[in-house]
Symmetry: C2
Subunit: 390 residues, 2 copies
Amino acid sequence: MNTIYVDNNATTRVAPEVLEAMLPYFSDLYGNPSSMHTFGGKVGYKIKEARAKIAELIGAMPEEIVFTSCGTESDSTAIWATLESYPDKRHVVTTRVEHPAIKNLGEHLSKNGYRVTFVPVDRQGSLDLDYLYNSLSDDTAIVSIMWANNESGVIYPVEEISQEIKQRGIVFHTDAVQAVGKIPVDVKSTGIDFLSISGHKFHGPKGVGVLYVRKGTKFSSFMIGGHQEHGRRGGTENVASIIGLGKAAELAAQRLSVYGAKVRSLRDKLEEEILARIPNAMINGNRDNRLPNTTSISFEYVEGESILLMLDEFGICASSGSACTSGSLEPSHVLRAMGVPFTAAHGSIRFSLSSYNTEEEIDFIIAKLPPIIERLREMSPFWHEAAVAK
Amino acid sequence: MNTIYVDNNATTRVAPEVLEAMLPYFSDLYGNPSSMHTFGGKVGYKIKEARAKIAELIGAMPEEIVFTSCGTESDSTAIWATLESYPDKRHVVTTRVEHPAIKNLGEHLSKNGYRVTFVPVDRQGSLDLDYLYNSLSDDTAIVSIMWANNESGVIYPVEEISQEIKQRGIVFHTDAVQAVGKIPVDVKSTGIDFLSISGHKFHGPKGVGVLYVRKGTKFSSFMIGGHQEHGRRGGTENVASIIGLGKAAELAAQRLSVYGAKVRSLRDKLEEEILARIPNAMINGNRDNRLPNTTSISFEYVEGESILLMLDEFGICASSGSACTSGSLEPSHVLRAMGVPFTAAHGSIRFSLSSYNTEEEIDFIIAKLPPIIERLREMSPFWHEAAVAK
C-alpha cells in the first residue's frame, strides 16, 4: 500500500538533496567545529555557509542567526531571554491559538508571577487587534504572535503588528515555524525582534531549529554552556543537521513560488471536491488568508480520530488538530478559540500538503473520504438526532 | 594525508552501524511519532526501542530516560528542574573542574540570587571531599559532580558521593557525558537522581542527549511545549538521531570491555613513549584513576596552540584543553584548578583515543611529537631562561 502523506504541518520528508548534503558529516567529516585542527575547522566553515543560507531565506544577516535544537527551543529562548533582559516587566502578550511551545509556556508563566494576555480570535481565526493593542502597557515585556497557524493555516499580519509593537518599545517575537519555507518571510522592514524556525517543517531534518535575533535586541542565553553560537547557545553544534537545514533553506528559496502555486492548486481542489461531495462539512479559518498547503475541515457529528483511523487504512496520513496535542481527547484549543461548535470541532481533519504530493494522491483522497464520513455518520447517534431535529 | 583523530573527548566518529540505523528515518520513514497514523506510529515504536537500549546501558528503567538535544541541555534541565522543585533552597554545590555547561550555569546562578560552592581539586585532580561535605546545609538544593573529567580524564567517585548526598536529602546530578560508553556506568545502586549523557561522545550523532531522571525525583520541564517525552521535554522528537543513539548505546554495551582494554593499552603506550622521549613533560591528573582513553600532557615552556598547529600539519587532531572553551587564550580552567604551573598549563595537550585508533597511528604520533616540542622550545625564550636558571 502506498503512503499518501498529507500531514506536512506535523513534519515533512527530508528532501533527498538535504540528506545528501548531510551524509559526509556523520562518519567522515565528523570533527567538532570548536576544535583547533583543520579537520574541525572545515566543518566550521560549512556551518558558516548554512548560517548564510538561512539568513538569506528570511532577509536577515548571518550574525542574527542562532542555531537551536527545535522550534520549541527557539520560542523558549526568545521569551526567557526577554524576561531576563527586562526583569521589571511582568506582562506577556500572546494569542489563544499558539502552538503548545508558546501556549504552555504562557500558562507556566501565568502561574509563576507573570501576567499573560491571550488575545482571542474570531470565527475565521483572525486576531482581535483592538484587544491586543488595548492590552499593552508599560509593564509589557514581549508580544509573541505566530506568523501562521499550524492547524487552520491562517496567516497573521505580523509584519504590521510588529511595527506597531516596536513603536511602543516592546519586544516582538513570532513563531514562524509554519510560515518559513511555505510563504515569503522577510524580516528586514518589520519590527520583528525574534523569529523561530524549525528545520523539519520544510524538508530539513528533525532536531534543528533557528532563532533569528535582530541585531541590537537584548539577549541572554537559555542554553547556558560553551561559547558556541557566539556565546548565545551552548552545546556542540548539531553539524550534519545544521548543514541539512542550510540546504533546505536554499531549496525553499529556489522553490517558494512554484511551491505556493502547486500546493495551493492541489489544496483548493481537495477542499472544493470535499465540500461538494460531503454535506455538513465546513472549512475552518479565513479562506482568503491561509497557508497555501493547509486546510482544516470539520465534518459535523463524527469523531476526527475515527476518520483518521479509516483514512489510515488506505495509507492516507492526516491529522486531527496538532500532532503536538495528540494523545488528548479534547478538541483542539485552536478550533475552540475560533468558536467552532463542539459537534464540528470533534470531527475536524487537517490536511497539510507538500510539493511532493501529486494530483493522483489528491484524487485518491477525494474518492475515499466521502464514503468514510457517510459510514461514520450512519453509526453516529448525534447525526441521526440532528437529522430528526431538522 | 591521513587524518589521525585523537580528539574523541571533543566528538567522535558516528559508527557506521549507527548511521545505517538512522538512514531510513530521514526521507523514507519520516513520520512524526505523535501523529495518529501508522506511518507515525512505526517511528514511535523505534523510539521506544532506543529508550530501552539507553536504559540498559546505564542500568535504568526506560521511563527514566528523557531524550534531549545535547549534554548541555541535560545538565541545564537537571539543575533548573531541581531549583524550581525546591524554590526555598538557594545553594548549589559543584566543582571547579566541570564542563562549561555546569561551570557557566553555576556562575550565572551565583549572579542571580543563588549561593554556589565550587569544590576544589588537588594537584592530581582529585576532589576535596571534606570541603564538599562541609559545604552542605539545609539550604542545599542540588550537588552536581561530573563522573569523569573531559580534560584530565580523572574519574570521580560519584557512586559513593551520591549515596552520601542522598542520605542528607539533597538531589544529586552527575554530568556523565565523558563516562558513558567509556567505562561501566550503572545508576541502580547509587544515589544519582539525574545523569547527563551526550550521544556524540560515544559514536552516536551530534545533537542528541539524554537526561536520566530517577523515578520519584521531582521534575519540571526546562523545554516547555508539547506532550513529548511524557510531558518532560517539548519539541518534536529528533527521530533519526534518537534511533542512532540507541544503536550507539547497544554497541557501547557490547564493546565496553574490549574498548577499555584496547584504548588503555594504546593510551599507555603513547604516554610512556612521550614521557621517555620528551624532557619536562608531565601527565596531568591521577594516573591510576582515569578514563582509559584520555591523557593530558603538559610540555613546559611551549604553547599548546603551537603544538596543535604543528601536529595538524601531520594530520594529527588533538586538543589543548576542552573544545568547548577554545577560542580563549586563557589556559584551561581545569588545569588551573589543579594547580598546574602556568608555564606547563599553557603547553598542555589532550589526546583522547577511540577504538578506531590503531597502533600505527600511535607510533606515528610518538615519532612526530618530540621534534615538534624540541623545535618550539628552541624558539621559546622561557625555555632558554629556564635552562640558564638551572
